[in-house]
């Protein structure tokens, strides 16, 4: 099993939370995992990217053209980080408008929910339900319950399930 995933967003959108959840999922499945994250100045609203490599890799970075999956929390990042994707990569984008990718208006749904910060989990639920990821919906739900702060548990689960439902 080898899967390389990029999570692209803007600082504050929760790319790190998705990265951590995906790493925990790999660990729960007894798979080797390496991730790489953006910290520091860029976290203040700048462009950030995380990489998750599941399987027997040694380096934490994904070379251009090698990512199997792309999770984009910001549509405008597609232009910046598309180069990491394989031609046939599964690409999930938080965007109200469709394109040459699978889109979900995660931001709009999150706002309706009254939890604008939960758009990341809506996108994750969407991607997991579309079977784009190495791990399934149930495992992710367990991890959201166990690994994320308890006081946001219900909001996070609700957001994730909203994404799953939207996957149709």
């Amino acid at each position: 099993m080898k899967q390389q995933i990029i999570v692209s967003g803007l600082g504050g959108q929760g790319a790190l939370t998705l990265t951590r959840l995906l790493a925990e999922a790999a660990a729960a499945l007894d798979l080797e995992v390496l991730t790489s994250e953006t910290h520091g100045m860029a976290q203040r609203g700048g462009t950030v990217i995380s990489m998750i490599k599941v399987g027997p890799f040694r380096g934490p970075l994904i070379p251009p053209g090698r990512a199997d999956v792309g999770l984009f929390l910001a549509l405008k990042n597609l232009a910046v980080h598309r180069l990491y994707l394989k031609h046939d990569a599964a690409v999930f984008v938080n965007s109200p408008v469709p394109g040459d990718f699978q889109n979900i208006d995660a931001q709009g749904l999150a706002r309706q929910m009254g939890a604008a910060v939960a758009a990341n989990l809506i996108l994750l639920g969407f991607a997991a339900a579309r079977e784009g990821l190495f791990c399934g919906v149930e495992l992710m739900e367990d991890l959201i319950r166990e690994k994320l702060p308890p006081r946001f548990r219900e909001t996070n689960l609700q957001a994730f399930r909203l994404g799953v439902a939207a996957a149709g």
């Binding site: 520091g40 070379p63 251009p64």
Partner: protein, 601 residues
């Protein structure tokens, strides 16, 4: 995370004191220590020291008392700690001392991309270079054992890609060394005057020569199959990890000899002669300076010095792939399209009080000079209120220098406003302020006090009265410190009140220019908006833009709040409700009064 793995490594290795000052990419190391120690039931003193030099000296004395010690910092932190670092090589240690200096090739979040391994070589201190979080954790124990065997500090040098990588790592039972603190007086060593130092230097040279023969650190060979006779690759750190993955992808793994170096300084003596004897073409891959390349030096050796590898920047898989293709004479793979879009630049958070302070400063003194410092508030450069950013504490000394430059040239002195964060002020601002006051410089110093070290993840400052482990302590007050520096003009104000803050700035300027003027200090006090409790406690207004908005862009360009957007259709400003904190500061910003704050609930 790699940083957490190293923290766990410290706990497992029986370290009893860990000190640090926060800085990307090293911050999460010490952050994780208290919790992990508590979990393991280990008595360990963890502290956020006031700066890296203090952290180093504190850890050093714990080591001189026979106990295992650790100090962690970002690479430029080692510049601050360089004084004790250099001398500790000569005088040595008792209990193991591991110096974790986290480098930032790229750089991603630093003032330089300097190579701490080079610093270690300069100091004659051995250095370990992990290629993954798992190795970084294991190397903590290795470093401490080596340190104790030779009574020498040992550096562990992870890079951003190790610090901020996550990986599953094995856990081991923490060692319980049960050592008492015992300090053996030895003035010839611990107070070494010049007469002793020549001998201590000879001993240091002898230690390094012996460490260069340690079998444990002979580089690890993954042999090739003679597809490339007389050729080898030598790599350390994360460059090795990327090279491994690339060779696998290119179907070249185990076809060309590949050495992993774990101890790049001192490079194993027999390894150097082995390479020279057996290979005609050698490629050295390392970040960021040519540390191994220089030790291997010879006609057959290529790397950064020979420009086979770019002389600067991170060795990403992209860069390494091209280097490998050229060196191994392979046809180049189709290169990926360059990014078509521009990355979004970071900005101060919506509701950040720094934005209010910067806006007031720039509006009050459009012709001013604005030296600043290191932290979130460096982003004040987006608002045109930060003209310099050099290194910790430099803004204050630079303000004094700018004053001297204009005053001595007999020219009209522009208003000089230095800005510095609270944590940075404690770190390196105090000596600079004493110096500026004593030498009668005249400028305004605005201390941006948000009661935390925000940029690196909200570590407490001495004024917070909270230790790294979360215990209460007596706070050290900023106002007391500023007064003790000899400052005679000191005011505190909340920058949210822009008109009030502006008049305070004007008053400070008059003081600076008065007959008996000097340094005027304003403490801009407002809690960090990322502090959830603080945010809840402050009033949140419902901000509205009225029809009067002329689309002049003043609030967008000169205030740059991420919650303000221009509606392209109406050419009027709209509020992004999801991001707006309701701070109400922008009400003071609109020149036509088109932004209104309404009371909510």
């Amino acid at each position: 995370m790699g940083n957490e793995a190293m923290a766990r490594g410290l706990v497992e290795a029986g370290v009893t004191l860990a000190a640090s000052y926060p800085g990307t990419p090293a911050s999460e190391i010490l952050q994780a220590v208290p919790g992990l120690a508590r979990e393991a039931g280990i008595a360990l003193h963890a502290e956020w020291s006031v700066n890296e030099k203090v952290a180093y000296e504190t850890a050093l004395a714990n080591s001189m008392s026979g106990r295992r010690s650790a100090v962690s910092m970002k690479q430029v932190g080692l510049n601050v700690a360089s004084d004790p670092f250099m001398r500790s090589a000569y005088l040595g240690v008792k209990g193991g001392l591991v110096v974790i200096a986290a480098d930032d090739p790229g750089p991603h979040s630093s003032q330089t991309e300097q190579d701490s391994r080079f610093f270690a070589m300069f100091a004659k201190i051995p250095v370990l270079d992990p290629s993954s979080p798992r190795e970084a954790k294991a190397m903590v124990g290795q470093a401490l054992r080596l340190s104790e065997k030779y009574e020498i500090p040992v550096m562990l040098r992870p890079t951003t890609r190790v610090c901020h990588a996550r990986q599953n790592v094995p856990l081991f039972e923490p060692q319980r060394l049960e050592r008492t603190a015992h300090f053996e007086k030895n003035p010839g060593r611990w107070c070494a005057t010049p007469q002793y130092l020549r001998e201590l230097h000879r001993l240091l040279n002898q230690k390094i020569a012996e460490i260069a023969l340690e079998e444990e650190f002979y580089p690890v060979l993954t042999p090739g199959d003679d597809s490339f006779p007389g050729v080898c690759l030598i790599a350390s750190g994360v460059a090795l990890a990327h090279t491994w993955d690339l060779l696998e992808e290119m179907d070249l793994l185990r076809r060309v000899d590949l050495y992993q170096v774990n101890l790049p300084y001192p490079l194993h003596r027999h390894f150097i002669s082995h390479i020279k004897l057996h290979y005609q073409r050698v490629l050295v891959l390392e970040e960021t300076y040519p540390v191994m390349e220089m030790q291997l030096a010879g006609d057959q050796v290529q790397g950064r010095n020979t420009k086979t590898v770019p002389g600067e920047g991170e060795l990403t898989p992209q860069v390494l792939r091209q280097v490998l293709e050229r060196f191994l004479n392979l046809p180049p793979a189709a290169s990926a399209a360059p990014p078509a879009g521009e990355a979004t630049r970071p900005t101060l958070c919506a509701g950040c009080a720094h934005r209010a302070a910067f806006y007031a400063i720039r509006e009050t003194f459009p012709e001013g000079i604005f030296p600043s410092d290191i932290g979130c508030y460096t982003l004040g450069l987006n608002l045109g209120a930060v003209d310099t950013c050099h290194c910790m504490g430099a803004g204050i000394s630079q303000a004094a220098g700018f004053y001297r430059a204009f005053a001595a040239a007999g020219e009209k002195v522009p208003t000089i406003v230095a800005t510095i964060g609270d944590s940075t002020f404690f770190h390196a601002g105090v000596p600079a302020l004493i110096n500026a006051v004593f030498h009668q410089a005249r400028f305004i110093l605005v201390i941006l006090d948000n009661a935390t070290t925000a940029m690196t993840g909200h570590q407490p400052t001495p004024e917070k009265g909270l230790t790294a482990g979360g215990q209460q302590a007596h706070p050290v007050f900023m106002t007391d410190l500023v007064r003790a520096c000899g400052v005679r003009f000191l005011k505190e104000a909340d920058p949210y009140d822009i008109p009030g803050f502006v008049s305070l700035l004007q008053e400070a300027d008059r003081y600076c220019r008065g007959a008996d003027g000097g340094v005027a200090v304003i403490i801009a006090k407002h809690l960090c908006i990322l502090d959830r409790e603080a945010r809840k406690a402050q009033p949140a207004w419902e901000i509205c833009v009225t029809e009067d908005c002329t689309g002049c862009r003043h609030c967008l360009d000169d205030f740059e709040c991420p919650a303000l957007h221009l509606d392209e259709a109406t050419y009027q400003v709209v509020i992004d409700r999801a991001r707006c904190s309701g701070c109400g500061v922008c009400v003071h910003v609109c020149p036509v009064g088109a932004i209104e704050a309404r009371v909510t609930k």
